[in-house]
């Protein structure tokens, strides 16, 4: 596989960085370029809203690989560089400075950018977003005792920052337009648990809340609600999701839906161009419907998978969706698919924890969601993943029974 033109990876985030390292791990010896618009090494994002704000982990602990590793493995990093255009016919990209580079294969790992609130005053100082290491570094000094933080958006970024800020002594208010927290991703029962935890820890949460404008003289000092109420604040964190970076692909004529469209091999509508991570829309292995996932595991697994594909493997990407969120001293995890399930079984756990199991009409597990103190539900969700993959028919009564170990169900020790 030694071609004169390199494999070029556009986007040096989690998926791009992982793909580059995995290509070398799998024995690719040709030229390899990793182009990113940030100055940092590729990094994982989960700590940005938690450990980095709480000072419990340095920024470089988020890095994927070290500078030495990229150097010794001859992964050519172009950092702080933007790609201006792709010319698929010529198999060439043009950088912002006008340089043109030929590729043998191109991997788009362009990720997403935090969506900004399109409201008056959104450009005031102190209206912050959180997507990058630099964003986290800019937010951190604003969070200390006595500071008032308003969080716009009751999704994972907003809630995790709210929990961190509360632990740092801030007065925190979360404003959510919908009628429950993290509604796009979570079952209603888990939204309720999240709400109860945040309120118990002193976060003011307002649901069904419409914002009209950010107010301030140079820097933000209040948020105006649609009903006219003014909420005073020192900092606003806007956490209303990301916009996938698909413009480069669209301008090159690649198929784009709610992300860069790829097939089950993560190949775009151009046979020489692949896409992975937050930016890509791929067929759900279960339903076949296009889906786009913004999770750590998706970036990690697609990065690794595409490396194998670029080197000739032909298996479909079929990793199970999985994510977690840590808030205060609690965590939630979700595996598989919940939407298509016919039946939901609830298992109550000690200390207000809970596991939810989602079964299809043949009583096979399709998805599971857990909530509890610390990482208490982690191993059960891991076992649930294995049960999903096993395709076994399961007894709802056994799943509901806290005394029935999921490991015994997996190993078939317990009769169903």
């Amino acid at each position: 596989m030694n071609h004169p033109a390199p494999i070029i990876i556009v986007g040096a985030g989690h998926a791009g960085g992982r793909a580059a390292l995995a290509l070398r791990e799998q024995g690719y010896a040709g030229r390899l370029l990793l182009i990113g618009d940030e100055s940092h090494l590729p990094y994982e994002r989960p700590a940005l809203s938690k450990q980095l704000l709480l000072d419990s982990q340095p920024a470089d602990a988020c890095h994927i690989g070290s500078a030495e590793q990229y150097q010794t493995q001859a992964i050519e990093r172009l950092a702080g560089v933007r790609v201006a255009a792709i010319q698929p016919q010529a198999r060439r990209i043009r950088l912002h400075d006008g340089r043109e580079l030929d590729y043998h294969r191109l991997l788009l790992a362009t990720g997403g950018r935090a969506r900004h609130a399109s409201l008056p005053g959104a450009d005031l100082a102190g209206v912050q977003l959180l997507r990058t290491l630099d964003d986290a570094a800019a937010l951190r000094p604003r969070l200390h005792t006595g500071q008032r933080l308003l969080v716009v958006g009751g999704g994972f970024i907003g809630l995790e920052v709210a929990a961190s800020a509360r632990q740092l002594g801030c007065a925190v208010t979360v404003l959510e337009a919908g009628d429950r927290l993290a509604a796009r991703a979570l079952p209603p029962l888990i939204s309720e648990k999240l709400l109860a935890l945040h309120r118990a820890r002193g976060v003011e949460v307002r649901l069904g809340c419409q914002i009209a404008a950010f107010r301030g003289d140079g820097s933000v000092s209040a948020v105006a609600l649609a009903d006219g109420e003014l909420l005073a604040c020192d900092t606003v964190l806007v956490g209303i999701g990301i916009q996938p970076n698909t413009e480069l692909a669209a301008a090159a004529g690649l198929a784009v839906g709610n992300g860069i469209r790829v097939d089950a091999r993560l190949r775009t509508s151009d046979a020489h161009i692949y896409a992975v991570g937050d930016a890509c829309e791929f067929p759900c292995p279960v339903s076949g419907q296009p889906q786009r996932l913004e999770t750590w595991r998706n970036a990690e697994e697609q990065g690794r998978h595409v490396a194998r594909t670029l080197l000739g493997a032909d298996d479909a990407y079929a990793a199970l969706p999985w994510f977690w969120s840590d808030q205060f001293d609690h965590s939630l995890q979700l595996a598989g698919q919940l939407q298509a399930a016919a039946n939901c079984v609830t298992r109550a756990l000690p200390d207000d924890g809970v596991l939810l199991f989602y079964l299809d009409t043949a009583e096979r597990l399709q998805g599971a969601c857990g909530w509890g103190a610390g990482n208490s539900i982690a191993r059960d969700i891991k076992l649930a993943e294995m049960l999903i993959r096993s395709g076994k028919a399961l007894s709802a009564a056994a799943l509901a029974d806290p005394a029935c170990s999921l490991k015994s169900l997996l190993k078939g020790v317990t009769s169903v």
Binding site: Q51, R297, K382, L383
Partner: protein, 106 residues
Amino acid sequence: MSHWIAACDVDDIEQEDVLRFDHAGRTYAIYRAPDDQFYATAGTCTHEKVHLADGLVMDHIIECPKHNGRFDYRSGKALGAPVCVNLQTYPVKLEGGRVWIALADA
């Protein structure tokens, strides 16, 4: 030099399971393998500082409760990305119904 510390009772851990043990400001993970052998490693994942005792033991593998980090707890060997740094392991002996681990003298 090292010294032996009693970490737990033999019966505190089920087969194919793991227990957290904290001692002198450090944390350890004690394992009981399916074949009833006992092992001990450092208590947190080398990727991020997450307690391994919350993870899942299958055969001789411990999987971190976050991410996908997997280790062979007998040798401490990291079994691929995202973990690439091996776990420290500690000698274990059973005596008087208790599990003892050997820690280096400070």
